[in-house]
Each structure stands twice: as C-alpha cells, then as structure tokens.
C-alpha cells in the first residue's frame, strides 16, 4: 500500500512539474517571438504590417524635418482638383512637348 501511495505521489509531482515547465517555456518562447517580430517590422514595416507604431522609432534619433501638407477646407479640395485638371487639359491641348 505504501509503495502504491509513493508511486502515485511521484506521478502527481512529476506531472505538476511538467505542467509548470511547459508554461514557463511557452512564456519564454512568446517573448522571443515578440522580440523577433519587432525587429522584423523595424527592418521592413511596409511588408510585415501591423497596426501599432513601431516601438523602435522611439529609440532612434532622427533630425525632425516633419512637415505638414497643405491645409485645405472641403471646398478648397474641389477647387484644387478642378484647377489641376483644367491646367493639365490646357497643357495637353497645346501639345507642346
């Protein structure tokens, strides 16, 4: 009876340790995967995608030459498009290359 009880306890403990080991290894693997993905996105964000801004950008110092494109109201957008198309049609009609 004692032997059977010892074997049973050994089995339970081994299983418990195995489960804990698996959980820890999964966590480690997930972290590695996340790091690898972050690096890959930094190399080629256009292809690999993702919806969050690249974390690596915070650590890299670039001269800030940020700039905004032209400011327009909804009415001005249409006026711009109309004017651009008209200019192009006029140039094409002249046919001077």
């Amino acid at each position: 009876m004692k032997i059977a009880h010892a074997l049973w306890m050994h089995l339970v403990l081994t299983s418990f340790v195995g489960i804990i080991e698996t959980i820890i290894m999964n966590k480690v693997a997930q972290q590695h995967e996340a790091e690898a993905f972050k690096v890959l996105r930094a190399v080629n964000p256009a292809i690999l995608g993702g919806t969050q801004p690249l974390q690596i950008a915070k650590d890299v110092q670039f001269p800030n030459a940020a700039g905004g494109l032209r400011l327009v109201s909804p009415e001005e957008i249409r006026a711009l498009a109309h004017s651009s198309a008209q200019n192009l049609l006029s140039a094409l009609a002249l046919g001077n290359v």
Partner: protein, 180 residues
C-alpha cells in the same frame, strides 16, 4: 466636417478625413476631365489611407516625415493599389489614358506640396513651400510612365527625392546648402 475647418490634405490625423478628402479630389478631378462616371475601388482607397498612416515606409513614421516623404508614400501606394478603374479619355490623354492612377497621384501630390511646411530643427525654423512645382509636358509624360510602375517598398525613397528636388527647384531657399 464644418466648412470653415481646414485639414492637411492627407495625413490630417484622421483617416476618415483623409479618405473623404481623397474621394472629393478624385471626384472633382474626373468631373473636370469630362467623365460622367468613374469606377473606383473603395477598398483600395481605404487600404491606401490605412497603409500610409499605419505602416509608413520610413521607420520614424508619418508624424515625423517630411512632406516629400508623405506624398511619396501616398503616390507609391496609390499607384500600386490602382483604385481608379476607369481609364481617362483617350482623345485627350492618348497612350497615357490608362495611367489614370499615376496622373491623379501626381496631381494631388503637387497640390499637397504647394503651401506645405517643413519644420526644420537643424535650421531652427519653419519653411513654407510657397511656390508651386511646375514641370514641362515632356517631363510630365516620362514621370507618369515611371510612376505607373512604382512598387512602394522599392521606389518610396526615389520618389520622395524626385518630389524634394522639384520642390527645391521651385523654392530654392527651402533647400539645404548644396555642398557636395
């Protein structure tokens, strides 16, 4: 959207505003060319706006990007996605009639650069690109053909430099001092 409000024509901070602005521009441009109907792939329009805002092809991202990089990201993605399905009138555009996506992308980019601002930390000032880019018809034709074959990941940097060179030719004071 109130009529008195002004937004950056693209990269306004609101993808919805960007999408509406882009659709307005395309609609008016096509109408002015005399097209009574224009088929567009709205899914492609959404993709262009989402990709250029969320996966900007320059690591620091769209917020820190110069206006040249912004219009280059737009141009290359627009041409690659081909959202405008209907060709332009062949009697007016000849062999370029099927290059409608490159024509619109370039036109909007030039409009977006006129009046764009560069916040230059190195020179500690804000530079306004007040003069509009102008090119010859010959250059335009070659550029439209070249842009039509753009692949964003391959051509983003070159297209950005083309816009930058053209903008500096029109606005010589905006350029860094040429030293090399």
């Amino acid at each position: 959207m109130s009529t008195s409000q002004k937004f950056n024509i693209l990269f306004s901070g609101s993808q919805t505003a960007d999408t509406v602005n882009l659709c307005r521009y395309i609609d008016e441009y096509a109408a002015t060319l005399g097209l009574s109907r224009l088929d567009i792939n709205t899914g492609a329009i959404n993709t262009i706006i989402a990709v250029t805002n969320q996966q900007f092809p320059w690591i620091p991202g769209a917020v820190k990007a110069s206006p040249f990089k912004k219009v280059a990201a737009f141009t290359t993605n627009f041409v690659a996605e081909k959202p405008i399905i209907t060709p332009f009138p062949e009697d007016k555009f000849g062999i370029l009639a099927t290059h409608q996506n490159a024509i619109i992308a370039y036109a909007l980019s030039i409009d977006a650069l006129e009046g764009a601002t560069i916040n230059c930390e190195k020179r500690k000032k804000q530079i306004v690109l007040s003069n509009r880019i102008k090119i010859s018809q010959h250059y335009w034709q070659d550029l439209i053909v070249a842009l039509s074959n753009c692949i964003p990941v391959h051509h983003f940097n070159c297209v950005s430099l083309i816009y930058e060179s053209l903008a500096y030719r029109a606005n010589p004071d905006a350029s860094y001092e040429p030293t090399i």
